[in-house]
């Protein structure tokens, strides 16, 4: 039973998570999950992994990021004439 529902149903889980699932497939997934604890667990783990990866609170560049980029840009075109 688990072997059989594994591939088919996990494909639907991923389609659901991609935001590309038909109403009919979503219904199939929903009713399957209600009766299959193994797939329920699988689906829960997928959603949990995503939320862990998304919790990227410390992913910010340093406060000097923008000023460093601005300082390293080539000189403005209008100044080229006086540069050398």
């Amino acid at each position: 039973m688990i072997m059989k529902c594994d591939k088919q149903i996990t494909d639907l889980m991923h389609e659901y998570l991609d935001g590309h699932i038909t109403k009919k497939d979503e219904q199939t997934l929903r009713s399957h999950l209600q009766t299959c604890p193994a797939c329920q667990e699988h689906f829960h783990e997928l959603k949990r992994a995503i939320s862990l990866v998304k919790a990227n609170s410390d992913l910010r560049p340093s406060s000097s990021f923008t000023s460093q980029v601005m300082n390293n840009l080539p000189k403005e075109r209008k100044r080229i004439g006086v540069q050398r």
Binding site: L46, I50, V53, N56, D58, T66, N72
Partner: protein, 189 residues
């Protein structure tokens, strides 16, 4: 949508030679570009370096940007290409290093029960963040780029396919496999 229109106005100014207008663009996109680079390369210092380089390249090549297109797609393509180049230049033993570091984390986090609810402070803790990143680094680079784009900016499969210049079907397969791999690796966090 409002922001996208505003960005396009800034781009017009930059094209006319107004360098200050570019600052608004950097301020708006810096966190996203940095986060995408970081998810792919796994090192803050390098991510920051590459992200800065991406903005400089965008500035230098701004005339080749077609204002009818989405700016972020163009900018993220520059950033992901630079990151992929950097990864390729790294020594082949790079992945082995990442795995060795990852195992320390495993010992530590294997002690946390799987069913325990995760308080927000814990998710935000630097240790867990770095553990998650280690696990992402254990994935092949081509999976990391897709994962980074999908999870940092919630981009659609079509946008990701445009950024990485690979077919949508390939994006889909990599996201599915990447998600499964992360599910297995992060199950015990």
């Amino acid at each position: 949508m409002m922001m996208e229109t505003k960005i396009k106005e800034y781009i017009k100014l930059v094209k006319k030679g107004d360098q200050a207008a570019f600052e608004e663009i950097v301020l708006f996109y810096q966190s996203k570009v940095f986060a995408i680079c970081f998810r792919m390369i796994g090192n803050r210092h390098e991510a920051e370096d590459i992200a800065q380089e991406a903005f400089i390249r965008a500035y230098v090549n701004i005339h080749s940007f077609d204002n009818k297109r989405k700016f972020s797609t163009w900018l993220y393509r520059i950033a992901t290409n630079l990151t992929i180049d950097r990864i390729r230049k790294k020594k082949p033993d790079f992945y082995l290093d990442a795995q060795v570091q990852g195992t320390e984390g495993l010992d530590l986090y294997a002690q946390i029960p799987a069913d325990q609810a995760l308080p927000e402070e814990e998710v935000e803790s630097i240790e867990i963040q770095s553990y998650i990143q280690q696990e992402i680094m254990n994935l092949p680079a081509k999976y990391r780029s897709v994962i980074a784009l999908r999870f940092v900016d919630e981009l659609s499969l079509i946008e990701i396919s445009e950024i990485l210049e690979i077919p949508v079907g390939t994006v889909k397969t990599r996201i599915h496999r990447g998600r499964e791999a992360l599910r297995k690796r992060l199950r015990h966090v």
